[in-house]
Symmetry: C2
Amino acid sequence: MVKITDVARRAGVSPSTVSYVLSGKRSISAATQRRVEASIRELGYRPHAGARALASSRSNVLALVMPLRSGIHVPVQMQFAGAVATAARGHDHDVLLLTQEEGEDGLRRMADSALVDGLIVMDVQLSDARTPLLRTLPLPSVLIGFPAEAGGLTCIDLDFTATGESCVGHLAHLGHRCVALLGSPPEVYVRGTGFARRTAAGFTGVARRYGMTSTVLPCEPSRAAARQTADRLLRDHPGLTGIVVHNEPALPLLMEAFQRAGMRIPQDLSVVAVCPDELAENAAVPVTSVAIPADEVGERAVELLMTKLNGVAVPETTLLSPRLTPRASTTVCGPAS
Amino acid sequence: MVKITDVARRAGVSPSTVSYVLSGKRSISAATQRRVEASIRELGYRPHAGARALASSRSNVLALVMPLRSGIHVPVQMQFAGAVATAARGHDHDVLLLTQEEGEDGLRRMADSALVDGLIVMDVQLSDARTPLLRTLPLPSVLIGFPAEAGGLTCIDLDFTATGESCVGHLAHLGHRCVALLGSPPEVYVRGTGFARRTAAGFTGVARRYGMTSTVLPCEPSRAAARQTADRLLRDHPGLTGIVVHNEPALPLLMEAFQRAGMRIPQDLSVVAVCPDELAENAAVPVTSVAIPADEVGERAVELLMTKLNGVAVPETTLLSPRLTPRASTTVCGPAS
DNA sequence: ACACCCCGTCGAAACGATTCGACAATCCCG
DNA sequence: CGGGATTGTCGAATCGTTTCGACGGGGTGT
């Protein structure tokens, strides 16, 4: 293994000088810098991560806490992870994977062992047992998602309230008066995942403001549940002309169920979804949708964490504005042509 | 921060003794052991990862190289990752996430910086630029998937040849004589992902042995491509009664396309898929399928790596046998009832 | 021309563990 | 009861960086 002293010897300088060239923490003459950099390249030197971490008390690793087996839509998680990993590399950091199941002990382990410099926590619940711990941990952290009580934490997410508002607003402007939100499975609401509730709040708020008739229903992602939900909705609300679906796996099932019940899309029923563009584009009828900007969220999360690592304060709350993309599944409300 | 000397002082022993209690590398009297363990617990001591790595030249971290944005089916990847992370924790190791894009440099970086003890590489191509490097790297590695030339490497995967054989065998025993394999998009074959080719080989081999008429076609996961593929297949092979689908996103689209073309499932067409059980169970007609045992593969991969880390030799090749689960989508070939 | 300051570099002391050789104390057996 | 093996513990060296204080040399200001 080639070490810093080897580089130093070859460049005719002391080890500390090599270190300073690498870190830029002291000024180095151009000539020395060139010689050192050449030696580094020629020897293929890379600092020993452990030694560096020990001496500098910085590991250059971030922990990413991921829900690896939950009912949440998986591809989006993956996109988060990819974005975080890529962004982290851009800041010369690596990413350590931590599973949700490790829970609070996992976080404490990270802190005590100095294995990572900071934490990015995904899938935060409204009432999340980890938030008190995160507030007191000596490790900086950024949460993707919002707990009910976010004071003292750094959180970032898509603005789901605005997303709900935007979806129902789109329907309202198309003249729809009776709408429904079909959300995540009941268990997601029960365990209090923030985004589900906030979408519902935005949806209901704007619907009320426009004087629309609105309903919110959870939905399991099974064909049977989708049919049942659709049938029940049509029975209880014969005037229904628009739905918002915030449940990725259930989206195709629900569209199928409504069509089976005699509703043509978009002639009889307009559909707006909260889902990745890819899914929306490839549906039988391309779906008007709001995508979760996972790449941007991940990247911004890393940026926030890096800023905190540099001792600079960051805003507690970062909300990304939703962008609604109109597609074939929504049209003006009126007698079918 | 509490360090080993603190623990030692409180327990009335020397730091080295504490270290030996922790590692078990020397025998310690029961009494001392108890005292040391108590001190550790009371002070909440955890070894400093960097210091430990420096002194022992073991970081207790594994790198997992993941394809984060490819055309491969995502949930399965995620399942691998989860299984690897969990298994690694079981061996007191953590998992560092490395993206495919880092490529060979990423691997070299891991080796040079001593950031990890070993590598688990997913999504290996038949002709993979990383395999020569992996052979020479001083870091032990395990590949999930097989390159064309696997000598000198440790590889594990589902036995896709046997999987193809098993699928077509199932159809054969039901009396089908004219069958097709619908696989991954062309790009996957082109870039030479091993599993796609091996499934096809197993499929074709057994079909020939049974004297069946067989076809292999790639398929893009879009509605249009699915329809085109189905129509073309039915035109070219009017006697077709069985298909094997090895393309998760395309599975529902293909089933829909065949039904639209007038084929009832399973009365007119039997369908076998290679996909997760969850997907197979939730299809309109539950699909007879072979699942990729991602959990087992991930766990075994970690086990293999740990064994190598302990300096023990392991088999170069580990193939997991496929298990076919019959469901409603396959039935005996014959005149429709 | 003198004092002063800044720039570039060096040497040495951390950082917090692991591990090796040494050393008592205990044990067993003749 | 003594000698050799065994067991349990300790002290000191070591791992490869970073970082702090010091120091010489050249420039600047007066």
